[in-house]
C-alpha cells in the first residue's frame, strides 16, 4: 500500500495542487487529509474542487467543525489574546468566504478514520485520537503517553496534524506516532516550503537505501514513512493574500518561513527554533 497524507491546508490551494501532483509523480494516487481545510490563506472555495477531483479522503479538524456548524470561533486552542486576535481575523474571513455547500460538506466529515492495510492498523485523526484540537508537540509529549494512546485506541500507526510541525516517534512493538505536517504554511524554520507525508507498506516499500529514510517494520510488515518538503508558488499565494486584505503578519510567514502569530502556544524548544 502507498498513500500520501496531507495535514492542515489552511486555504492554501496552491500547495494542495502541488502536493497532489508531487505525490502522483511518485506513483501515489491514494490521498488522505487530516482536516483544517480553512484558515490563514485566501479563497477558501478553491480547495474543495481539488480535493474532490483527486478523491482525497478527509477527516474533520477543529476548523472544519467550526465553519461547518456556524460556530463563533475556530476552536484552535490558543490561550494568548494576540494569538486569538489573529485567529479570529482568519476565521471570520474564511467563514465569510466559504460557500454554503462547502460548509455543509465539512460539517458531515468524520472526526477519525481507520484503515487496515498489509495487517497494519492506521488511525487518522486531527490533533489526537482523544481530542480534535489537542496539541501534541514533539518536545512536550512523552513516549509513554503516545504508547498508551496508540494501545488504548487499538492502532499501530497514529497519524495527526494540528500543531503545524511534522515529527514522528517510534513506540513499543513497532507502533508509531506521526505528525504529518501541514500544507497550509511553512514550519517556522525560515524555509518557504511546506510538508506532507508518504507512507509505503508491504511490497510497496522500497528496499532500504541507507539514506535518511526511516526503514522499519510493524507486525513484521515493512513500512516506510517519508516526510516530503514541498515547494509551491508561495509568491503567488502571498500576492493573493495581499489582494484579499489578509494580515501582513500572515503574508510575512508565507514569504519568509517564520511564524509571526500563534507563537504563545509553542513549547520553548519549538519556539526557540523560530525567529520570533
Amino acid at each position: 500500500m502507498k498513500l500520501a497524507i496531507f495535514g492542515g491546508i489552511y486555504n492554501n490551494y496552491l500547495a494542495l495542487e502541488a502536493a497532489i501532483a508531487d505525490a502522483r509523480a511518485r506513483g501515489i494516487d491514494q490521498f488522505y487529509c487530516l482536516g483544517d481545510l480553512g484558515a490563514f490563506g485566501p479563497y477558501p472555495n478553491r480547495v474543495f474542487p481539488l480535493l474532490k477531483e483527486a478523491g482525497v479522503i478527509c477527516i474533520q479538524g477543529n476548523y472544519d467543525d467550526s465553519i461547518g456548524n456556524d460556530l463563533d470561533d475556530c476552536q484552535c486552542g490558543y490561550t494568548d489574546p494576540r494569538d486569538n486576535h489573529f485567529a479570529q481575523i482568519s476565521y471570520e474571513y474564511t467563514y465569510r468566504n466559504t460557500a454554503p455547500e462547502n460548509r455543509r460538506w465539512m460539517r458531515d466529515l468524520p472526526t477519525e478514520l481507520r484503515l487496515e492495510a498489509d495487517g497494519i492498523r492506521f488511525l487518522f485523526c486531527h490533533g489526537s485520537p482523544r481530542q480534535t484540537n489537542e496539541f501534541l508537540w514533539e518536545s512536550t509529549t512523552s513516549t509513554q503517553f503516545l504508547d498508551k494512546l496508540a494501545i488504548d485506541h487499538n492502532a499501530d500507526i497514529v497519524l495527526a496534524t494540528h500543531t503545524g510541525i511534522h515529527w514522528q516517534r517510534e513506540l513499543s512493538d513497532g507502533r508509531r506516532f506521526v505528525n504529518v505536517g501541514v500544507l497550509g504554511r511553512p514550519e517556522n524554520d525560515g524555509s518557504t516550503n511546506v510538508w506532507y507525508t508518504i507512507i509505503r507498506t508491504g511490497k510497496d516499500t522500497p528496499k532500504p537505501t541507507g539514506s535518511a529514510r526511516w526503514d522499519s517494520t510493524v507486525n513484521n510488515i515493512p513500512i516506510e514513512i517519508d516526510f516530503i518538503p514541498l515547494a509551491y508558488n508561495h509568491q503567488r499565494l502571498a500576492q493573493e493574500m495581499q489582494n484579499e486584505g489578509l494580515p501582513e503578519e500572515f503574508i510575512d510567514t508565507i514569504r519568509n518561513g517564520w511564524w509571526t502569530t500563534c507563537l504563545e502556544v509553542l513549547p520553548s524548544r519549538e519556539r526557540l527554533a523560530g525567529k520570533w
Binding site: 496539541f135 514533539e138 512536550t140 509529549t141 526557540l272
Partner: protein, 302 residues
C-alpha cells in the same frame, strides 16, 4: 464523569487520564514568604518536606504505565532542594519537565548542567518564574524586599543559558488592568534581555496566606452539580493530574492544606474521584487550566 449528587450535593470529578504528574519537590519550604501564597510557604513551613532523587525516580518509573505526558516541579522553591538538578536531569529521560521557581537562587553552574541535559534529550525543560508585577513597587510588597530586582537577575541568567522562561503572575489587580500590566511586563523583560517574553496570568487563590491578605472564599463560592452540566471537565486539574509529596499523593498542587486532598500513598491509591468541595475548586472552574503551560492547552472542541 460527574456524579449527579452525593452527600452534600457535591460534584465529583474522575481522573480521566494522568497527563501531568506534579512533584512537591521542596515541600512548603521557600526562601520567600509571599503574602498571597495559597499554601503559606516560608523558610520555616516544613509541613511538607523535600523529595529525594530516589523518591522522584520511583514515581517516574511508576508513571510510565499511567502514560504520564509531562512532569511539573513546584514547592516552595524547588531550587532549595539540593537534589533538584539531578532530579530534573533524570526526569528529562522520561518526558518534558517544567519547574516553577521564584528565580532568585538560580546558579549559573546548575543552569549549564540543565541546558546540557535538555540538549541531550528530546524533551523541553520549561522554567516558570513567578514575578507579581512589572515594577518593584507592584511586586515587592507581595513577594518581599528587592525580590523584583533579584528575580529579574534570574530571568537574565536563564536567557543567557538559552532558556525562554514563562513569567507567571498572580492577578492582584483588577482584570481590566491586564492589558496595561502585560504591556509593561513585555517592556521590562526586553530591557532585561528577554526579547521573547512569555507571560501567564494566574487568578488569586483565596486560601493560605492570601486568605489573610485579602479574604477567603465565601460559602457560596462553590461548584454545584448544575454548574457541571455541559462543562468541560478537562479544564479542572484534578481531571488529569496528581501531586507526589513527601506525605503521599495529593489531588492537586493547590489544595495541599485540605485534609481530603491526600488521596493515598501511591499513584494507584490516588486514582479515586475527587469531590469539588473547596472554594479553590471554584476558581479552577472559573478560569480553567490554571496550573498547566499554554502548550498543554486543553480547551475542548464542541
Amino acid at each position: 464523569m460527574t456524579s449527579p449528587a452525593s452527600p452534600g450535593n457535591i460534584p465529583h470529578v474522575e481522573l480521566r487520564s494522568l497527563d501531568e504528574l506534579w512533584f512537591q519537590v521542596s515541600g512548603t519550604l521557600c526562601n520567600l514568604e509571599c503574602t498571597h501564597c495559597f499554601i503559606s510557604c516560608s523558610p520555616h513551613n516544613d509541613s511538607f518536606g523535600y523529595l529525594s532523587l530516589e523518591t522522584v525516580s520511583q514515581s517516574l518509573e511508576e508513571s510510565i504505565r499511567w502514560g504520564v505526558k509531562e512532569y511539573y516541579f513546584t514547592g516552595g522553591e524547588p531550587f532549595l532542594n539540593r537534589d533538584i538538578v539531578p532530579i530534573l536531569e533524570r526526569t528529562l529521560e522520561f518526558g518534558p519537565a517544567t519547574v516553577l521557581t521564584n528565580g532568585i537562587v538560580l546558579q549559573p553552574e546548575w543552569l549549564s548542567r540543565l541546558r546540557d541535559a535538555e540538549q541531550r534529550g528530546k524533551y523541553s525543560l520549561e522554567f516558570r518564574v513567578s514575578i507579581d508585577g512589572p515594577t518593584p513597587e507592584a511586586n515587592d510588597p507581595i513577594r518581599g524586599p528587592r525580590t523584583f530586582e533579584r528575580a529579574m537577575k534570574g530571568v537574565r541568567l536563564l536567557v543567557e543559558h538559552g532558556f525562554l522562561p514563562i513569567i507567571t503572575m498572580a492577578r492582584t489587580w483588577d482584570l481590566s488592568e491586564d492589558e496595561r500590566i502585560l504591556g509593561e511586563f513585555r517592556s521590562v523583560l526586553k530591557e532585561h534581555g528577554c526579547d521573547r517574553p512569555r507571560l501567564k496570568v494566574l487568578p488569586r487563590l483565596q486560601i493560605g496566606a492570601e486568605a489573610g491578605r485579602t479574604e477567603g472564599y465565601g460559602q457560596h463560592d462553590r461548584i454545584t452539580p448544575e454548574m457541571m452540566q455541559e462543562f468541560d471537565e478537562s479544564q479542572l486539574i484534578c481531571n488529569h493530574s496528581r501531586v507526589v509529596t513527601d506525605r503521599g499523593v495529593y489531588v492537586c498542587p493547590i489544595l495541599l492544606d485540605a485534609p481530603d486532598a491526600r488521596l493515598g500513598e501511591t499513584l494507584e491509591d490516588a486514582t479515586v474521584n475527587f469531590p469539588l468541595s473547596h472554594g479553590a475548586c471554584y476558581t479552577c472552574y472559573q478560569y480553567g487550566a490554571i496550573c498547566t503551560n499554554p502548550s498543554a492547552s486543553k480547551s475542548s472542541t464542541t
